[in-house]
Symmetry: C2
Subunit: 386 residues, 2 copies
């Protein structure tokens, strides 16, 4: 059996837990943060750098790789691991989310979803069976069922979508053949706790090796996010890994870990880095600000990443203003390092039975963007989504 | 004395020679190829990667660093080496060439040259004294005199320019104060051998620690380039290093080494890499070509660079087509590695007294672009110059 999940530590005062997820390409300590390698590359970083940073799981986007270079090309070249020279665990999504958010046109039926490529406008059909086939061609360690991804706030829409998502989960489960790949079901249901609970119960009945929770933290008020997440987790088996899709700010990870989530992925550290927003224990630092023009200090004192050990804020600001690729690299390296170190600290705090103290101490200095700013960022992100 | 140049091997049948150039930041084996770090970064590469590649000398552009971030900023941060975290030898140009080729407006007098920034249109004056001051602020190991850089084919223009270049060389020499920086004179004179000879004699009389040869290989027919170079070298002292500015294709390096040049710099490997042109022993390979879509081979069999040890042509093509930064990095890494390995082979061949055989063998398989293609590339380069 190439897959196993074992809970090695449970926090005393919350649902937070530490686990070991065994895959054919290595073991992942959870809670884990997976950086996103949309087009078979975590933007700006080499696989050697990912390894050196301590990355243990990378997410790749099936939608993008299907369109370019094509999954058959990747399969002929020995699969996605070999193609991108990353021999650690890889998680792929089903492509559904990108079809619903990025592709320019769609027609949705019970059979599947028709969309137009954002690259050349060509028309394509994704069915549950095809989503499974594509991911089997890629050969990821963890694959996702195709799901419908509706706006989270409309109850009727979510109710109808849920039926289709569940029917598709059944079809994905039946279509899946690779024993060296774990297929996760995806809980949907918007912000509605009863729908989330029903979805979790239905999928748990299909006995997947792990469960994703989709369609949360996509713009809805955070006060609605966490109850919906709790409702889902309450009805998922305790001994299977739980993956909260697309979530990855430190403040959201803390909330989700507290409720028992094990796996995270997000473009947050890599995309913000390219915009010049660098993560520190006090929040984000916009390296383009004029106040850093002469600043000889590293991004964050005490940070052990290559960027902070080697370069000043002044140099990073210069690179970003001058449009130099090295600036994007060094910023990305730092932000990914920040989130990986953060995840390690989360695991350590859980092992010590002190997760809530860690959360409180972290949030005492870390200033997340305001709710207003967060929504602006999200809207900009959705407009730009690639 | 922080500088020394020693010739350690002389080819038997040509003027090619191997030397050791000692600078305050390390020793450089010549003939050497220096990659260009225009804005205090060799585009896409980290200083650690430069070191790992075996880079021993980096060229930075005074014009760009003067405009952004400003030399005083760099000086306050401890100088250019510390700013860019490159502790090896650095060569800076005077900014003259960029003023004559890149800045949008200029007025030329004996005092100096007035130009407008290509970034914000602001007006600036470079004088010989200012060019020296700027480079002393940067703290490069090797600095250049300010020179006038005319079109190479007009004799009258070159004759007049030469007078000014020589007068400026005298002023630069007088203005120069840093004992830990070597100031090189620059031989000009277009394609005219008598002017080149006169320029070399004049500058040799000023007893510089090294000599640059400027204004060649800038678009003139190659049949005119080499006689002009020979005329210059004939009148330069044999025991001082010779630097052919802006030259860096393998075929040009071979011609120039044969005539006794020691130092080269060029954007060639880095810029062609970003355009998808990868260097091999057979010439350039355009990685964007459809024929590489499924190609599992490395760029070049036997190449020991990280790119070739790790990735297929198919993956590199995918990255370049997808606009991924990692593609630019891996291509640059390979091309710089190629030229450094090439320079090492040149040195070895000279040590063995077999430079001409090496040249012949190399050119037997290496196919440079045609003269026509070369001029097209050059014109495109001049239009884009940054």
């Amino acid at each position: 059996m190439p897959f196993a999940f074992e809970i090695t530590a449970q926090d005393a005062k919350s649902a937070a837990r530490v686990g070991r997820l065994v895959t054919p390409h290595g073991t992942v300590e959870t809670p884990v943060f997976a950086p996103v390698g949309t087009q078979a590359t975590v933007k700006t970083l080499s696989p050697q750098e990912l390894r050196d940073l301590g990355v243990t799981l990378v997410l790749c986007n099936t939608y993008h790789l299907y369109l370019r270079p094509g999954v058959e090309v990747i399969a002929r070249l020995g699969g996605l691991h070999r193609f991108m020279a990353w021999d650690g665990p890889i998680l792929t999504d089903s492509g559904g989310f990108q079809v619903f958010s990025l592709a320019q046109f769609r027609k949705l039926t019970d059979e599947g979803v028709v969309f137009r490529s954002h690259i050349d406008g060509s028309e394509h059909l994704f069915t549950p069976e095809k989503a499974v086939y594509l991911q089997e061609q890629l050969g990821s360690d963890i694959a996702m069922c195709l799901d419908e991804c509706p706006e989270p706030l409309d109850r009727e829409v979510n109710l109808r979508a849920l039926e289709r998502t569940h029917a598709w989960a059944v079809r994905c489960r039946e279509a899946h053949t690779r024993p060296d790949q774990a297929l996760f079901g995806i809980v949907q249901g918007g912000v509605f706790s009863d729908l989330r609970a029903a979805s979790a119960r239905f999928l748990a009945g299909l006995d997947f090796p792990g469960y994703a929770i989709g369609g949360l933290s996509v713009g809805e008020p955070k006060a609605l996010t966490w109850p919906a997440l709790e409702a889902a987790i309450d009805h998922l088996p305790a001994d299977k890994p739980r993956y909260l899709m697309g979530v990855g700010t430190p403040e959201d990870i803390l909330e989700a870990v507290e409720r028992g989530v094990d796996i995270f992925d997000c473009v947050f550290p890599t995309r913000t880095a390219r915009n010049g927003a660098l993560l520190t224990r006090r929040g984000r630092l916009n390296i383009r600000n004029a106040c850093f023009a002469d600043d000889p200090r590293p991004i964050e004192e005490g940070c052990t990443c290559y960027t902070c050990r080697t370069f000043s804020r002044a140099y990073l600001r210069h690179l970003m203003r001058a449009g130099e690729v090295l600036g994007l690299r060094l910023a990305t390296l730092h932000n990914v390092h920040f989130l990986l170190r953060f995840a390690e600290e989360v695991r350590q705090a859980i092992r010590e039975g002190a997760f809530l103290q860690f959360k409180e101490a972290f949030l005492a200095t870390y200033e997340p963007p305001s709710e207003e700013r967060r929504l602006e960022n999200l809207q900009a992100r959705l407009r730009r989504r690639t």
